[in-house]
């Protein structure tokens, strides 16, 4: 009964480098979400995956950000040519998807990204 796990827990990179952040959702959860939390801010929605449906990418801040979800389970968030303003905690969450909506999202511990 493991919860949502994310790796790495911390990542320091140089401006201009690419980074990959990984999320393992709770087994059986069909929905997966990425958020980010910048310093002093709330959580900002980035992208949502549900089953085989096309992901909702409406929250991605630029085309440097992309995400994949392979086999309906593990997801990778990729940030290309990182900028200092990308520094934030990147949080992944998963949930069941039941009729009627309102399902609880369960969050991982996050990846703290620092771009120097």
């Amino acid at each position: 009964g493991a919860g949502v796990s994310q790796s790495p827990s911390n990542k320091v990179t140089e401006k201009g480098k690419d980074v990959e952040l990984r999320c393992d959702p709770i087994s059986g959860h069909t929905a997966l979400y990425w958020y980010r939390q910048s310093l002093g801010q709330g959580l900002e929605f980035l992208i949502y995956f549900q089953g085989n449906s096309a992901p909702d990418k409406s929250g991605l801040p630029s085309d440097r950000f992309s995400a994949e979800r392979t086999g309906g389970s593990v997801s990778t968030l990729t940030i290309q040519r990182t900028q200092q303003e990308d520094s934030a905690v990147y949080l992944c969450a998963s949930s069941l998807m039941l009729a009627g909506g309102g399902e609880t999202q369960y969050f991982g511990p996050g990846t703290r990204l620092l771009v120097l």
């Binding site: 949502v4 929905a31 979400y33 958020y35 002093g40 801010q41 709330g42 959580l43 900002e44 929605f45 949502y48 549900q50 909702d56 929250g59 949080l91 969450a93 949930s95 998807m97 009627g100 909506g101 309102g102 399902e103 609880t104 999202q105 369960y106 969050f107 991982g108 511990p109 996050g110």
Partner: protein, 113 residues
């Protein structure tokens, strides 16, 4: 444009007293509201939720009140305990697109022993 606002960045309360955390929203389409609690270096954990068809939901020491006309909700913790010290986030969604939670900026609660 912040659709969910938590105007108090911090709150300090004596152990045993009531903690009241407030949240305001601007989008009248929101019909589902949640509170999450976050400890340092951990992800947010779900605390309590309320649907717009209700004005109150209670779970143990935690009660959420919703005032739709004022677009305001609040979380009451009674009695407050030192272990309740954390950052509390209010979140809202539209049920037919419930995957997209809109979060407030959080309120840091400190419960003093």
């Amino acid at each position: 444009d912040q659709q969910v606002k938590q105007n108090s960045p911090s709150l300090s309360v004596q152990e045993g007293r009531i903690s009241i955390l407030n949240c305001d929203y601007t989008n009248s389409m929101f019909d589902y509201f949640l509170w999450y609690k976050k400890y340092p270096a951990e992800g947010p954990t779900f605390l309590i939720s309320i649907s717009s068809i209700k004005d109150k939901n209670e779970d143990g020491r935690f009660t959420v009140f919703l005032n739709k006309s004022a677009k305001h909700l609040s979380l009451h913790i009674v009695p407050s305990q030192p272990g309740d010290s954390a950052v509390y986030f209010c979140a809202a969604s539209v049920v037919d697109s419930s995957y997209k939670l809109i979060f407030g900026s959080g309120t840091r609660l400190l419960v003093r022993p």
